[in-house]
């Protein structure tokens, strides 16, 4: 397991290198001059040129890339922001927790609601409970998150005046953003859970468990859900990535100081180092999430665990595994 994890972490390096290269090329293709934004449209051409060369933007793109990577690798320095001159690393560290907190809290909420509702819908199949759950899932999957956020604000902030509209001044300000993403993602997780539960409840081993005299509660929670967790985990992983992206949008609506607002500022200000840093951070987070999903498979499914072990032992699938597959 440990060797597999290390191997996967090493494999992240080329992925992240790829991300930096793509970012640099997009930057080169993007219209607009950062000096215009930094100094204003009316600044003298000479000042603009000086600003450009000061920030190394007149070098060929390959040289710029080389310098950027050299700084990161030797000093861990991601450059400084064009707009406020602060180091990027500090900016990221101060903004990243907000986004992660929003993403994780909303995902937690989505998992609890989604999985419980999915189990309930599957066990009460073709009843009114199931119908309501299915309508909820279709609504949740098809509703854009920013629009749902608006609806929640209109109801709970403007009409009922229970919760603040936006800002970040305490726990009350977190409820609506988390609920927005949590409820919408719950709909998708519920659909998956329901399907996986129904699929597994038809399996022969469930009948075997009942034939042993096992209680219905254990049949559902251990035998059916235990196996259903394999597809549900995939789904949760997808939603965690989605929640990260969703958090970036939702932060804007609720004025939470997270990566999303940082990225929007960076885009508007043509603040290339800041943008690169934030995108890179999102890429790292995504890769780590993928790794965590794959590792959690091994915890749930002994077949996957066996395969991981054989992969890391021989570098590829062992003969026994190939025969079995």
């Amino acid at each position: 397991m440990l060797r597999y994890t290390i191997k996967r972490i090493i494999m992240m390096i080329p992925v992240l290198l790829g991300v930096t290269i793509i970012l640099f090329f997009i930057q080169a293709l993007t219209p607009g001059n950062p000096a215009d934004v930094a100094l204003g449209q009316d600044a003298a051409e000479a000042d603009k040129a000086a600003w450009i060369s000061e920030h190394g933007l007149d070098d060929p793109i390959v040289v710029q890339y080389g310098k950027y990577m050299y700084k990161i690798i030797t000093k861990g320095d991601f450059g400084t922001s064009y707009t406020n001159g602060k180091p990027i690393t500090g900016e990221l560290i101060s903004h990243w927790p907000t986004t992660i907190k929003l993403a994780l809290m909303s995902l937690l909420m989505a998992c609890i609601i989604g999985i419980l509702l999915g189990i309930l819908a599957a066990m009460k199949r073709n009843t009114w409970i199931d119908s309501i759950a299915r309508v909820f899932s279709i609504l949740g999957v098809s509703m854009p998150n920013f629009w749902f956020a608006m609806l929640l604000i209109m109801l709970f902030s403007l009409k009922l005046k229970w919760l603040p509209v936006s800002g970040s001044y305490g726990p009350m300000y977190w409820i609506l953003p988390i609920a927005t993403l949590g409820i919408l993602n719950a709909a998708g997780i519920m659909r998956f859970t329901r399907a996986a539960m129904l699929d597994n409840s038809q399996q022969d081993f469930v009948r075997t468990a009942r034939a042993k005299g096992q209680s219905e509660r254990m049949v559902i929670w251990h035998h059916i859900l235990g196996n259903a967790m394999i597809p549900i985990t995939t789904c949760i992983g997808q939603y965690l990535i989605g929640a990260l992206a969703g958090a970036i949008i939702i932060e804007q609506i609720f004025s939470l100081p997270g990566l999303g607002s940082l990225m929007m500022t960076a885009i508007n200000q043509r603040d290339y180092p800041l943008l690169r840093g934030s995108v890179l951070l999102v890429a790292v987070s995504t890769s780590v999430i993928f790794l965590l999903i794959d590792l959690s498979y091994a915890a749930i499914d002994p077949r996957v665990k066996a395969r991981f072990k054989s992969i890391t032992k021989s570098g590829k699938l062992s003969k026994k595994q190939v025969q079995k597959n």
Binding site: D204, T208, A211, G213, Q214, H223, G226, N227, P302
Partner: protein, 327 residues
């Protein structure tokens, strides 16, 4: 027949599968069968005859919907299983009546170790700790010829024959009074079949377990059973001691089954077959169910349902022509 000798007594069991698409599928019709203590009965019939449905009904494991017991009673030690509530039937499942399922590949839970799966049934019924249950599970594994060192391995690490042995070990772990074996050897190749049958025979002798063996292999029946019941379209058409039926099959369907067996004596290149298909269970004829395929049928066969006739001691057949000598 002496009532007290019967460990299980099925009376007039009818089971229907009801779906919107196909309507009412009459899987089991007026099925009656008595199983004595320590007796092994073979239940033989082609695919779709309702054999598995009978076994599942005994444990109340029918999936409802679509399955529904329409009528009948199943007495186990004098109590009607069909009237039991969930907690009563759960005490019987696995401890007093256990079942070996058809397909060992899917009958085991892929995420639990085999030891845990055997221990599960022990823990549920015996008053032991989880650790003791694991010890007893290890013994059960040894009993079916799997070294106990492998008890922490998962089903995917076992071959088909070994999985079937695990299933058997699970079924026998609590020394049940009655074992329902649903085609226990169908998924296995011949050498492992022999091993599994030997194993079941041995355990049956040692534990004095009654056995309902569902199969479509008449060879297995000859090897294992005291009595055999031939099932066709949800009802028993012939039942009797194995010797009597093998020597003197009376029902045209039973005869057809025996004639379809490959034989060393005949020189014909093709196997004999019974022409036609089993009647559609959603639309069963009100008369003899075998009439459309029967080569011996007379005019009376299409008019009414035949009753059981006893042709020799304990050998009953459901055919209008029973007892007549055929050429």
């Amino acid at each position: 027949m002496n009532q007290n000798n019967n460990i299980l007594s099925i009376k007039d069991l009818s089971v229907h599968y009801i779906t919107k698409e196909t309507g009412i599928c009459k899987a089991v019709n007026k099925f009656s069968l008595d199983i004595k203590k320590g007796e092994a009965i073979g239940l033989v019939g082609e695919t779709g005859a309702g054999k598995t449905t009978v076994a599942l009904s005994i444990l109340k494991l029918l999936q409802t919907p679509p399955g529904k017991v329409v009528s009948g009673e199943i007495f186990y030690k004098g109590k009607d299983i069909l009237k039991m509530n969930n907690s009563e039937i759960r005490k019987i499942r696995g401890e007093e009546i256990s079942m070996i399922f058809q397909d060992p590949m899917t009958a085991l839970n892929p995420i639990d170790s085999v030891g845990k799966q055997i221990a599960e049934v022990i823990y549920l019924h015996k008053k032991v700790s989880k650790r003791e249950a694991m010890k007893l599970a290890a013994d059960a594994l040894e009993l079916v010829g799997i070294p106990k060192e492998r008890m922490n391995e998962y089903p995917n690490q076992f071959s088909g024959g070994m999985k079937q042995r695990v299933v058997i070990a699970t079924a026998l772990a609590c020394s049940p009074q009655l074992l329902l074996a649903d085609e226990p050897t169908t998924a296995l190749d011949v050498t492992i079949q022999a091993q599994v049958l030997d194993l079941m025979n041995e355990l049956k002798k040692n534990l004095n377990t009654s056995l309902l063996l569902i199969t479509h292999d008449l060879g297995v029946v000859a090897e294992m059973c005291d009595r055999v019941a031939i099932m066709y379209a949800g009802e028993i058409v012939e039942i009797g001691p194995v010797k009597s039926i093998f020597r003197n099959p009376q029902h045209p369907y039973t005869r057809g089954l025996f004639e379809a067996l490959p034989s060393n004596k005949s020189n014909s290149k093709r196997l004999k077959q019974i022409d036609g298909l089993m009647p559609d269970p959603t639309n069963l004829p009100p008369y003899c169910k075998f009439e459309p395929r029967c080569s011996k049928g007379s005019k009376g066969c299409g008019a009414q349902c035949p009753e059981f006739i006893e042709v020799s001691e304990g050998h009953w057949v459901r055919c209008h022509l029973a007892g007549e000598k055929w050429g």
